[in-house]
């Protein structure tokens, strides 16, 4: 397929894409790396170009870091649990022969296309609000005391919002995987006398394991940088400060660039650990 001529043309054609991505990756990342070793607080006009690992040490040892890591883990973990369990259930459900399957699919997928600020605001005001939210009406109707979700259970509330947005994604991918399972395999198992739960446990779940892994990896990468939902609902208050949000506050709100940059580099490292696993799976798939 390839001649010298087409190969050099190819190189020329890849060049712009590689170049812009390289610039995009390298220049800001190097600057962040540089700032992370500096004491740089523009509001106080402090700039000391080299203070070693001080920023990293103070970032990592501060209690807000520990808290943000815990919050991040709670959020990502909670969202993953809900979306994976819900996604498997929904995928199996949508795979059943039902009337109007296409419409149900559309209903289920819709939340993924709602912009994050909209879904955060809708949930915050129209559902979670103590005075006028639907949940409060529901509580009152059941004779209970209305509950202020966003201040009493802020992490849980955000988990609900984000899980609602990502459930369609998990469902869609797991549905694709469920549909690729041959019905003959299931029929063979049925002939072998396996009851429903055994078919799920020994055949469907192993078949889905790869798709589940992919959903976990991809969602983790996106969930680690959840921003708008927190920005709009609690603005980081009530212990909803994730690592991403903490870095944002250090950099843009308190303008401690050095400290924030150290946090940014740590976030990059953490995300890369997840990314490596994802890239392995994608790379293997590229071969065939």
């Amino acid at each position: 397929m390839a001649t010298q001529h087409s190969r050099s043309a190819a190189r020329l054609m890849i060049a712009p894409a590689v170049f812009v991505l390289l610039v995009w990756m390298l220049i800001p990342l190097c600057m962040t790396l540089y700032f992370s070793f500096a004491d740089y607080r523009p509001m106080r006009a402090t700039f000391e170009p080299w203070i070693g690992f001080d920023n990293y040490v103070s970032f990592v040892t501060s209690s807000s870091f520990t808290n943000s890591v815990i919050t991040t883990l709670q959020m990502v973990g909670g969202i993953l649990c809900i979306t994976i369990a819900g996604g498997i259930a929904l995928a199996l459900l949508l795979d059943q022969p039902i009337f109007g399957q296409g419409v149900v699919r559309i209903l289920v997928i819709a939340p993924f296309f709602v912009m994050p600020t909209v879904s955060a605001l809708v949930w915050k005001n129209m559902f979670f609000n103590v005075d006028n939210g639907l949940f409060s009406y529901l509580y009152k109707a059941l004779g209970l005391q209305p509950y202020d979700f966003l201040s009493q259970a802020p992490v849980f509330s955000i988990v609900v919002i984000v899980a609602w947005q990502w459930l369609p994604f998990a469902t869609l991918i797991l549905l694709t995987a469920v549909q690729s399972l041959s019905s003959e395999q299931l029929e063979a198992a049925e002939m072998d006398g396996a009851p429903g739960w055994a078919r799920f446990w020994y055949i469907i779940l192993p078949h889905l394991s790869r798709a589940i892994t992919v959903v976990i990896l991809i969602q983790t990468i996106f969930l680690l940088s959840v921003f708008a939902e927190i920005f709009v609902t609690t603005n980081g208050a009530f212990g909803t400060r994730t690592l991403t949000y903490l870095v944002y506050q250090r950099v843009l709100e308190s303008q401690n660039i050095g400290l924030g940059s150290a946090g940014g580099i740590i976030a990059v490292i953490l995300a890369n650990i997840v990314a490596i696993f994802l890239m392995r799976i994608v790379g293997k798939n590229l071969d065939n």
Partner: protein, 334 residues
């Protein structure tokens, strides 16, 4: 117009040498068939000539002009692919017009040539259809039409008939042969089907692992195969190749006897055995005969209807002047 010469042309893919240095001359107006087993490098050689691959060494000349470094578009060759490679988003007319449009030809001349090609290929009624709405044979004709309108120096075909069913294949084979007679343009045709090779070629090039085993007219190859490989490859059914005792009797390593050169006799004969499978075609009868002391059954072709069947004993006598002899290296002894 279309004389193509290859001098020491070779091709490596990384470490793997697919075509060792090779020399070949294709004369103007010749119909040359490259034939050989799967993976022997036929397509690669054709693509080197087309310019779709770079040579790793050597020179290609077209009409005496060096073409080694020319891009495919500049070589003045046209190619018909195995998958036809029609442009699915263009009508038949646009498909055929595409090379003319790329050459910047004026509209009137384009229309004239398209009409002429469509006429010749029976495509006039289909000009406004998309390739997807055509049968396999029609698609094949469009691919050929796209090639002929350019009036190229030579046509290259890479197994153009292998996607067609048997009956259509015979018809298209004749059409391509006729086309060659009318156009009198050089054609290089790749196939692994030796029947296609024998029926169409002026000159056959037998390839094995990138090496040219023999070049010659179909009958040259049939009558005097240069070695055991060509002997076994050309001819249908395959030539019987015998080693050991029978070969030693003729003073060589291997002897070859074509199935049609074995006579069925009532008694005596050189070989005596039992019929394994008998294939009655009416015009011919093929027997696969098990002969004691021989690993492979021998194939015999008797013309007309012969009333022998499975399990019957049979006596065979080879025609003495039609026995091919080969030495230790597999080369022909004349």
């Amino acid at each position: 117009m279309g004389r193509i010469t290859l001098e020491n042309v070779q091709k490596r893919f990384g470490e793997v040498e697919v075509i060792p240095p090779l020399n070949l001359t294709i004369e103007d107006g010749e119909f040359v068939v490259f034939v050989g087993p799967s993976g022997c490098g036929k397509s690669t050689l054709l693509r080197l000539i087309a310019g779709l691959e770079d040579v790793s060494g050597g020179e290609i000349r077209i009409d005496g002009r060096p073409a080694t470094d020319l891009p495919p578009a500049k070589r003045g060759l046209a190619m018909v692919f195995q998958s036809y490679a029609l442009y699915p988003h263009m009508s038949v007319r646009k498909n055929i017009a595409f090379p003319l449009k790329m050459a910047g030809m004026d509209q009137a001349e384009q229309d004239r040539r398209i009409a002429k090609a469509a006429e010749a290929l029976n495509l006039t009624d289909y000009l406004d259809r998309r390739p997807g709405q055509l049968s396999g044979g029609q698609r094949q004709r469009v691919a050929i039409g796209r090639a002929i309108v350019r009036e190229p120096a030579a046509f290259l075909f890479d197994e153009p008939l292998s996607n067609l069913d048997a009956a259509l294949r015979v018809g298209m084979r004749m059409e391509i042969s006729e086309l060659h007679t009318t156009l009198a343009t050089t054609m290089i045709y790749v196939t692994h089907d030796q029947v296609e090779a024998m029926t169409m070629a002026d000159k056959i090039v037998v390839l094995r692992a990138g090496n040219i085993e023999q070049v010659g007219t179909p009958l040259d190859l049939y009558r005097e195969p240069r070695n055991v490989f060509v002997a076994g490859f050309i001819g249908s059914p395959k030539m019987n190749l015998l080693e050991g005792e029978h070969a030693r009797a003729h003073g060589c390593k291997t002897i070859g006897i074509r199935p049609e050169h074995l006579d069925v006799v009532d008694s005596g004969g050189t070989f005596t055995g039992k019929i394994g499978v008998a294939e009655h075609l009416g015009s011919d009868t093929f027997f696969h005969v098990h002969i004691p002391g021989m690993a492979e059954p021998m194939t015999v072709r008797a013309s007309g209807e012969v009333g022998l069947r499975h399990g019957d004993p049979i006596h065979l006598a080879p025609q003495a002047d039609k026995i091919h002899r080969f030495d230790d290296k597999g080369l022909r002894i004349s």
